[in-house]
């Protein structure tokens, strides 16, 4: 088997462990402390923000402007209009202001 296939299998096992591990470890506790609870509730926003902030602030102004625009659209509209208007925005910016 190729190196790629071995990487895929190892990564698949590690990924499954992250998905079942939290439950296996945390379900041992009868009651969850309120700070742990608050931390758990903050997980999605905290993690997903880390996938947005670096692309927004470490690329060009076009990327920053696109994410700022998309964020503003998201305060008024749902996911799909926000996603497609954001996509249209970056395509237009890159068309008129090529690097």
């Amino acid at each position: 088997m190729s190196t790629i296939v071995w990487i895929i299998f190892a990564a698949a096992i590690m990924t499954f462990l992250t998905r079942i591990g939290g439950h296996l470890v945390l379900s041992r506790f009868e009651r969850i402390h309120y700070r742990v609870e608050a931390g758990l509730n903050a997980v999605p926003a905290a993690v997903l923000t880390t996938l947005v902030a670096p692309p927004a602030f470490t690329n060009g102004w076009q990327e920053f402007a696109t994410l700022l625009f998309s964020g503003l659209i998201a305060t008024r509209f749902s996911m799909m209009p926000m996603f497609f208007s954001g996509a249209a925005f970056i395509i237009l910016l890159r068309h008129f202001f090529p690097i």
Binding site: I4, M79, I91
Partner: protein, 242 residues
């Protein structure tokens, strides 16, 4: 309605499946560009179409699959690639703990399948349903995951076969679509307690980590910073919902 009918309606697996399935459709559409992009970039980085499909089918973890491709393209040691994928997916430990509380009533194998399918939007929708007080059944959960998973795997194939047709991915903004999608998810959580301090902290910490420690650790470092802020700012029970 008589009692027999309402009891039947309460646990109707088929109805629950299709209810979940409908919720899965927008997620399927939103993830389609990334599934196709993954297949295209994978083949571009030296994967066969079979390997691209295998990765989508066994990992089923978009962002980490992209990270894996990027590092593979840079000829980085295999163990480091696996470790980086693990780092990107480490957030699932916390999803797992959280969703585990909602699916206590599942059987062992139902849990195994459910945790395998626990991707970001699956987590978000399950939490939303649980918080709304609606029952999280296995049929509903599987219905939600089915269109997303089936299409994700198919897109790796389609993207791999037709990837070479995209002549200029930069011009059509392919690299920015993923952050836009993640931003949409972040904004969807804005009614949660302590959302703003969490987002600001994670944002600042991830940018700092990105510029110092480097990718992919900015994900774990930024996330932990935001989670700690949420834990520190939390007040003891009663003042908040359940």
């Amino acid at each position: 309605m008589d009692q027999a009918v309402s009891a039947e309606t309460a646990g109707r697996p088929r109805g629950d499946f299709w209810e979940g399935f409908r919720k899965g459709l927008p997620i399927m559409v939103a993830s389609a560009p990334f599934g196709l992009l993954f297949g295209a970039v994978a083949v571009d980085n030296g994967f066969t179409v079979f390997e691209a499909v295998l990765m989508s089918a066994t990992l089923y973890a978009g962002a980490s699959q992209m990270v894996g491709l990027e590092l593979f393209g840079q000829k980085i040691a295999p163990w480091l690639i696996v470790l980086s994928i693990f780092a990107v997916n480490f957030r699932h430990v916390l999803y797992s703990a959280s969703v585990g509380r909602r699916i206590r009533h599942f059987t062992f194998w139902q849990k195994v399948v459910s945790f395998f399918l626990l991707v970001d939007p699956q987590y978000a929708e399950t939490e939303k349903r649980g918080e709304a007080g609606l029952p999280v059944t296995f049929a509903w959960y599987l219905g939600l995951a089915t269109p997303v998973y089936v299409m994700w795997v198919s897109e790796a194939f389609i993207g791999g076969v037709f990837g070479n047709l995209i002549s200029n991915p930069h011009a059509i903004g392919l690299d920015v679509l993923l952050p836009i999608y993640f931003l949409g998810l972040v904004m969807g959580f804005r009614s949660r307690p302590r959302w703003l301090p969490v987002v600001i902290t994670s944002g600042v910490a991830s940018v700092l980590a990105y510029n110092t420690v480097g990718s992919p650790w900015h994900v774990s470092i930024g996330a932990i910073a935001g989670i700690l802020v949420a834990a520190v700012l939390a007040k003891p029970a009663n003042s908040e919902e359940n």
